[in-house]
Amino acid sequence: MSDPRVRPVGPYPISQGGWHEGGSSKAYVTNDWRLEKPVVDLEKCVGCLYCWVYCPEPAIDLLDRAGKGPSKVRIDYDHCKGCGICQQVCPPKAIKMVPEEEEIANNGSI
C-alpha cells in the first residue's frame, strides 16, 4: 500500500452520529490530476498572497503562516491540481506553469 490514493477496503469505523474526521481529505493526494505544475520564483515573489486567496484547494503553503505581513509561498505538490489560476492572478508574474515531467530542484522554488 505505498500509493496513498489506494485506501484499504472498508468498512471504515464511524463514530456515533456518523462524523467524518475533519480535514482527513489531506491524506488523499491529487497530484496526478495535473499536466502542468506551477513553479514560484521566490526572487520575484512579493508575498502579496493573491495566489493563496484565489487557490481553490488550498495548495499554496504560506511560508509565514503566523505573521501579519507579506508572506512568500510554496506550492503543495501533493494536492495541486494544476489549474493555473495562481499563474493568472500573480501580479508580479512570479509563477509559471511548467510541464509536469520537468525536474524542479529546491521544492519548486527557483
Binding site: R7, G10, Y12, I14, W19, H20, E21, G22, G23, S24, S25, K26, A27, Y28, V29, T30, W33, R34, C48, L49, Y50, V53, Y54, C55, P56, E57, P58, A59, L62, R65, A66, G67, K68, G69, P70, S71, D76, D78, H79, K81, G82, C83, G84, I85, Q87, Q88, V89
Partner: protein, 321 residues
C-alpha cells in the same frame, strides 16, 4: 441574540494581510481543478476570525468535500438534504440561542447555510423563505455556478438566458435556454431581510467585507456569490477568476448590497466592457457569437442592461452612465 454580542462588531477588510491565515478547508477534496465555488467557500471561511458553523445543502461543494471516508472541513460542518439547509441552519441557530440564554454556550459562532444555485433558486427556496421570515441570525450563502453541475450540467432557474446546458441544448429549434435568470435578490429583499448582497470570487475584498457585514447583522442575511464552473461553462480552468471578473466588468453580474431596503452598488462599473468579452471566453455562449443568433445576443444584451438600470435606479448613489 443581543446586540452587545461579539459577533455584532463589523470590521471591513482593509488589507489582504489582516485576514485569517489558518486554513479552514483542507486540501485533497475532489473538486475539479480551477473550481469557482471552492474559491468562494475558501474566501468566505478565511474572512472570519471565529470559526463558523457551516450547514451544506447537497451540491458540488458538499459532494466533493465529503467523499467517503474523508472530510475536507476544518470547521463544524453538517450535510443535510438538498432542500433544507436553511431550515437546519435555523435549528442550529435556535439551539445556540437557547444555550446562550441558559448561559451554557462556550463560544458564539456565526451560522452559515451554504447551498448552490439549485439548492437556493429551485429546491431550497421554500426553506430559505421560511428561515428569512422567522428572522434567524444566520448567513445564507448561495454559490451560483448557474446550473446543476455535478449531475451533468442541467439547467436551473439561475442559468442565464441563451446559455447552453445539457437540458437547454443549442440547435435549429432552440438557441440555448429560453427563459431569463430568476431574480433571487429581489425575492430575498422582498422578505424585508436586513442585509442581502451579491459578490464575485474575483473581487475578494468586496466579498470578504460583505461576509463580515452579514455576520454582524442581528437577523437573517443573504449572500449571492458568483462562482464560475469551468466544466459547465466550457472554459479553461485557469480562467475561472478572469471569467468572474469580466462578468462584473461587463455588468452581467452587478455587485451591490441591500441594507434595510437601501440599495448600494459596491463595485461601480461606469464604463462597461462589451458583453462579448465575457461571452467569448465560454463555450456555453459560443453559439451567440454566430451571425444567425444575432437576435438572441441582442435580447441577452437588453436583459443585462435592464437589470443594471433597475439596480442603478434603486441605488442611492447613482453611477454616471
Amino acid at each position: 441574540m443581543e446586540e452587545n454580542s461579539k459577533l455584532s462588531q463589523f470590521q471591513p477588510v482593509k488589507s489582504i494581510f489582516e485576514i485569517n491565515r489558518e486554513e479552514r478547508m483542507a486540501p485533497g477534496h475532489r473538486a475539479c481543478a480551477g473550481c469557482g465555488p471552492m474559491i468562494a467557500v475558501r474566501q468566505i471561511l478565511q474572512s472570519l476570525d471565529v470559526k463558523p458553523v457551516v450547514i451544506s445543502a447537497t451540491g458540488c461543494v458538499e459532494v466533493t468535500t465529503s467523499t467517503y471516508p474523508d472530510s475536507a472541513w476544518l470547521v463544524p460542518w453538517a450535510h443535510v438534504a438538498f432542500e433544507n439547509s436553511a431550515a437546519v441552519a435555523s435549528g442550529v441557530e435556535a439551539a445556540m440561542h437557547a444555550l446562550k440564554v441558559r448561559g451554557e454556550l462556550k463560544e458564539e459562532r456565526p451560522v452559515i447555510a451554504l447551498a448552490g444555485d439549485g439548492g437556493t433558486f429551485d429546491i431550497g427556496l421554500q426553506a430559505l423563505s421560511g428561515a428569512l421570515e422567522r428572522g434567524h441570525r444566520m448567513l445564507y450563502v448561495c454559490y451560483d455556478n448557474e446550473a446543476y453541475m455535478n449531475t451533468g450540467i442541467q439547467r436551473s432557474s439561475a442559468t442565464p438566458f441563451g446559455a447552453w446546458t445539457t437540458t437547454s441544448p443549442v440547435g435549429k429549434e432552440w438557441p440555448g435556454k429560453a427563459e431569463i435568470k430568476k431574480d433571487i435578490m429581489g425575492i430575498v429583499v422582498a422578505h424585508g431581510t436586513p442585509y442581502a448582497a451579491t459578490a464575485s470570487i474575483s473581487h475578494w475584498k468586496d466579498l470578504m467585507t460583505k461576509v463580515r457585514k452579514a455576520v454582524s447583522q442581528n437577523g437573517p442575511t443573504f449572500l449571492h456569490v458568483y462562482a464560475p464552473c469551468n466544466r459547465g461553462w466550457r472554459f479553461e480552468p485557469k480562467d475561472t477568476v478572469e471569467v468572474a471578473k469580466r462578468a462584473v466588468e461587463t455588468r452581467f453580474f452587478p455587485l451591490y448590497e441591500v441594507e434595510n431596503g437601501r440599495y448600494r452598488i459596491t463595485v461601480p462599473v461606469a464604463k462597461p466592457r462589451p458583453l462579448e468579452d465575457f461571452l467569448s471566453l465560454q463555450g456555453r455562449f459560443s453559439h451567440l457569437l454566430k451571425p444567425e443568433n444575432l437576435e438572441v445576443l441582442k435580447e441577452l444584451k437588453s436583459i443585462v442592461e435592464e437589470r443594471w438600470s433597475k439596480i442603478n435606479a434603486a441605488a442611492s448613489v447613482q453611477v454616471q452612465t
